[in-house]
Amino acid sequence: MEAAALLEGTAALLPHITVLVTGLVVLVLDLFLPPRGLGQAGSRWATEAVSLVGLALAFACALAQAGDEPRAVFMGMAVVDGLGTFFNAVFVLIAALTVLLSAHYVRREDIRPGEYYALILFATLGFMFVGSSSDLVMMFLAIETFSMATYILAGLLRDTPRSLESAFKYFMLGSFSSAFFLYGIATLYGALGTTNLLALSQAMSAEGTSPLLLMGMGLLIVGLGFKVAVVPFHMWAPDVYEGAPTAVTAFMTAGPKAAAFAALLRVFAQGFGAPAFSEEWVPIFAVLAALTMLLGNIVAIVQQSVKRMLAYSSIAHAGYAFVALVAHNAAGAGSILYYLVAYTFMSLGAFTVLMIVARRDDQRHVFDDYAGLGATNPALAAIMSLFMFALAGFPPTAGFAGKFYVFSAAAQSGYYVLALIGVLTSVISVVYYARVVILMYMHEPDAEAPRIRLAPTSVAALSVTAFGVLYLGIFPGGVMQLAARSVAFLFPG
């Protein structure tokens, strides 16, 4: 490769490289900072400050690429376009919020900061490459990058059986699904002789469908279905989300999920987007979306643990975003991006409250632990209510605007039944979200429970997420326009 092309490629991937370098700096810094004793607090602050500064730089680099001409770099492996840039910004935001909300958790549970923040940054790097990949080989490597980082993060508290079990199940089903994804890529490569997404869509238009091609498409649906945790490939999600350290669960419901949707948009909306092929996968996706919304919401009702309830709620929300994928029009693709941003704020916020209420050793997650929170800690209860109403989809929150865009996109493409299931299951979901609110305000607090103290970093994380939820709900137009512009190239004309 010529030097000029190398330079151009490096410049195009500047946001990714910034995150990578930040991760490496954090890892090396960990060697030189005192792990115990007087210097411990200083090492933690230093690690967090370096991570946040690096992420801020990456965010600036990502914003600088907004509006660039779409271009492929590194021999068609990666691409810089609206979709990639939007996702880069979202992933960096998720990582920064995770660093903020983890700061308290890392101190309370005595986690070594170096490995923790480095893994968060490496996982973020994986997300960003998923969003920017234009080749299935690249996409597979990116998915593996973030998966491996999250396997380790889930098992970070390796002395607690729950965390270890969560990591184990995540690892088993994660690598199982990666094998399906790979087999799908191999089949497509055999059918069309290329793994580049743009070349694939051209070759498909020239040659039409073949059994081998359909088999590859099916295997890719299975592989990515596991990653998004869409029913019937969801069975790992509740256990993994419940067992993982709460700060990590917050990260896992936002990051890997958004990255898997980025992969779905790249592969299905961009690669298999032509009408001749979309009619093959859209009906399958419609069934998956309906099952996911129904099962996620109904099973969430009977949960005893708030953390597990939010895990099922996360499955249900993936179902709503799936509806937008089924719509397969410009409005649908735009609303996926909007929904992912909205869900990022709602989920990270709710899990921050969970993490605070769980107290030391990350134990208190059942519904009764929330009884009387409105009396003992009114601010925390108020903000938790905001996130619960947002997740249920009440106006004027981001949850309402997101669902509105998704269901109207579905109706635009004629999927009225799917939109109806979505609205009905949202009504069902009010049952379990309201249960938390009722417990907080209408029950007596447990007198023996230790007092809750809020760390400044947690307050910052809660303020940003609450502001995001309200801002996106009251002024949805700006972000929606940005999202629509980012995906406009997928649906020309």
């Binding site: 597979f140 059986p161 793994t195 419940e242």
Partner: protein
Amino acid sequence: MPLSWYLVFGALLFMIGVVGVLTRRNVIIVLMSIELMLNAVNVTLISFSHYLQDLRGQIFTLFIIAVAASEAAIGLALVISMYRGKSTFNLDEVNVLKW
């Protein structure tokens, strides 16, 4: 030998891996089954690569081997910490969280 023989061989290997992951309860055998699935993909990719006279398939195989190695590293590390905690290799005994 025709291409289809290799493809059928790859598909059979993959199926054996899938059945192994789903039915076996010993962690080590489950890990081996996952490796088997990845190698089935490698066989498929290399046979397609030879058939199409295109090197990209074989290069992809090298990537898969590297990823499989790092996956094995994480998997075995998890097995070791599980054995330290529970003194077992049986997956059914890992059940604090309900499936």
